[in-house]
Amino acid sequence: MFELSSELAKRLRHDFRGEPTSSIYRLHRRRGFEVSFLADRWVGIVVSGKQATLVDAEVVDGQPPRLQNDLHMKLQSGDRAEALAVMSQQITNYLRENGIERVVVKGSSAGKTAMKLSHLESAELRGVVISSAASVCDTSIKKTGVISRTYGSRKANEYIEDDEHWNTHFDGDALKKGSREAALLLLAERED
């Protein structure tokens, strides 16, 4: 096993046609080649209002996920159909160009308050994000309730608030507090 420079690793994420090589690495792993120098890249996505929060992390067995990027993609103003198309392209582009292997999207859930148009529009955006992600890589949907039942012994919201949990379970000082929900999706997915 050896360590590659991040620049070379970045280049190796694409094959000679410019396509992500993640599937090639998976294939090599199945064939028993030692390719552990490239960790998997997973992305957790939470859609809220007119924004998608993406937490991109390197996931290696036995180690806390290492933050690669914490970003927010905002739905552009103006024509809604055009804005959704742009969001779809941006999500697809990001996942493809960064060789993302797996995406976990926070699923919709019925709230305690009356359903409003803004909730429906947010669900539309969530649908666009899910379909865009699924066109690039393995994509799953996780609801907060399911995470609370299956991840650890506490409720999801308690983990999100717990600074100590993030210090020990996630490698990345730059992770914003508001992005922890998206990061928790990755932790929960790894436990499955």
């Binding site: 620049e7 970045k10 694409h14 410019g18 970003l71 993609m73 552009q76 103003s77 582009n93 990001y94």
Partner: protein, 343 residues
């Protein structure tokens, strides 16, 4: 490359590129293609020319990796049969480059946002692959048959070429402050160049060339504060473009993602069409079943006058909406027009 000789049937010239002319051509495999012909400078010695070819070849290895919907695919590089030029064969984009669009008139803010979205996707792909374009400008953005903007000519420019060889008109207008001061190109110098590109597209050539060209001032610093804006460009657009062009690279928008987010917040209405002529600037937009017009008469550099009226699309009378109180100062006209065009 030198092992491969050209079999291209070169056709008519369609553009002038940074290093040479662009021609239509027929290729045995790809059919109609565009070919950039990079000719040897007659004053160049053998060693320099060989070195130049070597640089192009090393960069060509990167080009093969760059397949993306917003990047013009490069098929191959070959040497001409006489060894005096390199032929750079790429997909033909029937919509031409944004240079001709920029030369024709200012583009509306909705058109520029569409172009920016397309270009940012391509640029994001290049940056994610560890590449820098180094030459983002209207002439290097092509429109395909569907009107999608695609980046061309990346990978051909090296840091040495940026300031050493650049002589093409307009090129140095896209070189960021830190590059003028000896720092290398980077993701952030690409963002600077894209900021300048968006500014040029929003204003068109006639307006752009009314003031001193950027190449004479960028190195002095604070160039983004010197930009002269057409009055219909919203404040948010001005702020974003300035944020792409700050001298301080730490203060500048740092990544394509940040520019995409900034762009997503920009308004696209009112969406004025604009024409800039020597003594007049004219704006128009449709509002319901009427067309709103605004005309600025520039009697001199200091004395201006403007009026606005609406006309029905079909039948009816035109209505005066507003006007200046006779001939006023240029600064007063600018202030009044900003208030009128951006309610």
């Amino acid at each position: 490359m030198s092992k491969f000789k050209s079999n291209l049937a070169i056709g008519k010239k369609i553009d002038n590129g940074h290093f040479g002319e662009v021609h239509m051509a027929d290729d045995d495999v790809h059919g109609q293609v565009a070919v950039k012909i990079i000719r040897r400078d007659p004053n160049e010695d053998d060693a320099t020319w060989q070195n130049m070819k070597k640089e192009f070849m090393s960069e060509a290895q990167l080009l093969a990796k760059a397949a993306h919907p917003n990047i013009v695919p490069v098929y191959h590089l070959v040497e001409s049969n006489d060894g005096q030029s390199i032929q750079y064969c790429m997909e033909y984009c029937s919509g031409g480059s944004l240079k001709s669009i920029y030369e024709a008139r200012p583009q509306s803010i909705s058109e520029v946002r569409k172009i920016a979205n397309d270009v940012l996707l391509g640029l994001d792909a290049l940056h994610a692959r560890g590449m820098i374009h180094r030459d983002i400008k209207p002439g290097n953005i092509l429109l395909d048959g569907n009107g999608t903007a695609r980046i061309a000519d990346f990978g051909l420019v090296t840091d040495r070429i940026v300031l050493g060889y650049a002589s093409q008109q307009g090129y140095k207008d896209h070189v960021a402050y830190e590059v003028w001061h000896g720092k290398g190109t980077s993701v952030r110098s690409d963002i600077w160049a894209l900021g300048m590109t968006l500014y040029r597209l929003l204003h068109g050539e006639a307006w752009y060339t009314e003031t001193d060209l950027p190449r004479y001032h960028i190195r002095d610093g604070n160039f983004c504060d010197r930009l002269k804006w057409l009055p219909h460009i919203p404040k948010q657009w001005r702020r974003m473009i300035r944020a792409m062009m700050y001298d301080d690279t730490d203060r500048r928008l740092q990544s394509v993602g940040q520019v995409q987010n900034a762009l997503s917040r920009l308004p696209v209405s009112p969406d004025w069409a604009c024409e800039v002529r020597r003594a007049e600037v004219e704006w128009s937009r449709q509002s319901g079943n009427r067309v709103v017009w605004v005309l600025l008469n520039r009697h001199s550099s200091r004395k201006h006058e403007w009026r606005s009226w609406s006309e029905p699309l079909t039948t009816g009378r035109s209505k005066t909406l507003a006007r200046s109180e006779g001939v006023i100062s240029a600064s007063q006209a600018k202030k009044e027009l900003e208030a009128h065009l951006l309610p």
